[in-house]
């Protein structure tokens, strides 16, 4: 059982005030706050270990390399990868999805091949595929969203045939919180020899993840959405997928030999990590994974179900509030998007911030196709993580009543 009240002591930023009120941080789907353990690990790395990795015969360089590689091993254990070499460090989820799209797609897609997406995808799991489709002549096809805010699998059979090359799906929507139909889509992809790519930006921080059981070909996620620093993320790929891919970026650290006209690539994962990697960030990411592993991801999920359930219950008391997402907490994560009467999401966010110190996201959440599907220009979104407590929800609800008042609705 997670004691969120106790956990809060690990997060220095939660002690600060905004607009004279204690900060109520409800934007963890955008980025999470960082515990002292992560902040200290980064600081400690720079104070005591800093050197470049995979080069230099001196002790410090060896220690830095060990620190960097031990974070990779932690990530591998955290997602149950078969081997740490299947974990490629990238700048984040966006870079990871672009690496999968360009690295795997560019050489294998062509006119007549299809990429299957869902209408709930984040722009970072749409635009890379559009770019690669444009370069290769491949075609994008989409699964619709149903009335319960889930992915409509009704048209799946007609879209799955030998033209299908790639299926890319979010493990959890950053807008509706919907848990994506990963199992069904991975199986559908594999049934016709296509590969499956999972955008795990929201799912990996919030749900226990076992990439071997999931059986997708690639899974992308970011450190900063799971208590770690910005600037680092992961493309996990099955060994054979990564081995058959050409590197996207050339440079130092990704080769075993360079001659004037050709070179030999380093083995995976290093052939995808050209240049000096984000070493301190990897160390911080490792500390974040230690923190989450100590809590236990089953417990993280249990806490999320509880706090989200409480939020849905309290929000039901606010008149004229419409939630865009599943009402059953078993089907969803902790991102709760909503509209309140005719008050625009930006106005809601300003009033919550000013009156209650509540930080929520307002806008299209980098999911414009989904916003068009809902026929709304923007929603407000509250999202939760391990440090959120019921009183955070109470502040949100109080602020929403104040918003009604400011707009003359009470």
């Amino acid at each position: 059982m997670i004691d969120a009240a106790a956990i809060r002591k690990d997060f220095p930023i939660l002690e600060r005030e905004v607009n004279g009120k204690p900060l109520v941080y409800l934007d963890s789907a955008a980025t999470t706050q960082k515990p002292s353990q992560v902040i200290d690990a980064i600081s400690e790395y720079y104070r005591t270990i800093n050197a470049n990795v995979h080069r230099g015969a001196y002790s410090l360089a060896d220690e830095a390399t060990t620190a960097y590689e031990s974070s990779r091993a932690k990530v591998a254990r955290f997602i149950n990868a078969a081997t740490p070499s299947e974990v490629v460090f990238t700048r984040g989820t966006t870079a990871a999805l672009n690496l999968a799209a360009y690295g795997w797609g560019l050489d294998r897609l062509g006119t007549g091949s299809r990429i299957l997406l869902t209408k709930m995808e984040h722009h970072s799991n749409v635009v890379p595929w559009q770019l690669v489709a444009k370069r290769t002549g491949a075609e994008l096809v989409y699964l619709d969203i149903n009335a319960e805010f889930g992915v409509d699998l009704g048209t799946l059979d007609e879209l799955v045939d030998d033209r299908l090359a790639i299926v890319a799906v979010s493990g959890m929507s950053n807008v509706t919180g919907t848990i994506g139909p990963v199992r069904e889509l991975v199986d559908a992809a594999h049934s016709v020899g296509a590969i499956a790519v999972v955008d795990g930006a929201q799912a990996v921080p919030h749900l226990p993840t076992d990439v071997q059981a999931m059986d997708a070909d690639f899974v992308a996620f970011s450190s900063h959405k799971m208590l770690g620093p910005t600037g680092i993320g992961v493309l996990w790929g099955k060994r054979e997928r990564l081995e058959e891919m050409e590197p996207l970026e050339g440079g130092g650290e990704m080769i075993t030999d360079v001659r004037l006209y050709e070179s030999e690539w380093a083995p995976i994962p290093h052939k995808f990590e050209a240049g000096t990697p984000p070493i301190a960030q990897a160390v911080g990411f490792g500390a974040a994974i230690d923190y989450l592993a100590a809590l236990g991801m089953e417990e993280v999920r249990r806490h999320e179900v509880e706090i989200t359930g409480y939020a849905l219950e309290r929000l039901a008391d606010v008149p004229d509030l419409e939630i865009f997402g599943p009402t059953d907490v078993a089907q969803r994560g902790g991102a709760v998007s909503f509209q309140l009467a005719d008050i625009h999401a930006h106005d809601i966010a300003t009033i919550l911030d000013e009156e209650q110190g509540v930080a929520v996201r307002a806008g299209h959440h980098c999911a414009k196709p989904l916003m068009r599907h809902f026929e709304v220009p923007a929603t407000a979104r509250a999202s939760f993580y391990v440090y959120n407590v019921p009183s955070d929800v109470d502040a949100l609800v109080a602020g929403l009543f104040q918003a009604r008042e400011v707009f003359g609705l009470s």
Partner: protein, 150 residues
């Protein structure tokens, strides 16, 4: 600064009942603007005759600040010469602290310089919302720049 000073009644009125809504049929200049980070949209049709704005129509969607700013702007510019509109734009941007200089708003004579638009003065205390109030004005500048170009 209280939240009520930001969301004055006149702003909510323009948000809920925007003036000069629609499009123009005759000869006109058209410009569109949007804030990609938040999704606010604003479009503007202007009829310009003999160096004066003789008609204006707006359409848009977004927050109360951007839409009220557009509605008040449309009301304020019709009947003014291009030079007067340029001066109004300058005064508005001074009030919003978008352009550097003293705010023209005179607390002892409210409404004396910018009329109803002075209701938006509270926005300057909310830096993240200034671009909302500015969107219609940037669109207006685009429209007038087109006129100069043609």
């Amino acid at each position: 600064m209280s939240i009520q000073e930001l969301y004055r009644e006149v702003i909510l009125d323009h948000y809920r009942n925007p003036r000069r809504q629609g499009t123009l049929a005759g000869d006109h200049i058209h410009a569109e603007g949007n804030n990609p980070s938040c999704g606010d949209e604003f479009s503007l049709d202007l009829e310009v005759t003999d160096g004066h704005i003789t008609d204006a129509a707006i359409q848009g969607q977004g927050c109360s600040i951007s839409q009220a700013s557009g509605s008040m702007m449309a009301e304020a510019i019709v009947g003014k010469s291009i030079e007067e509109v340029a001066e109004l734009t300058h005064q508005f941007k001074l009030m919003m602290s978008i352009e550097e200089g003293e705010s023209p708003v005179d607390p002892s004579r409210p409404g004396s310089v910018l009329g109803d638009l002075e209701a938006l003065q509270g926005v300057r205390k909310f830096p993240v919302r200034i671009k909302c109030a500015d969107l219609p004005w940037t669109t207006l500048e685009d429209a007038l720049a087109q006129r100069n170009a043609s």
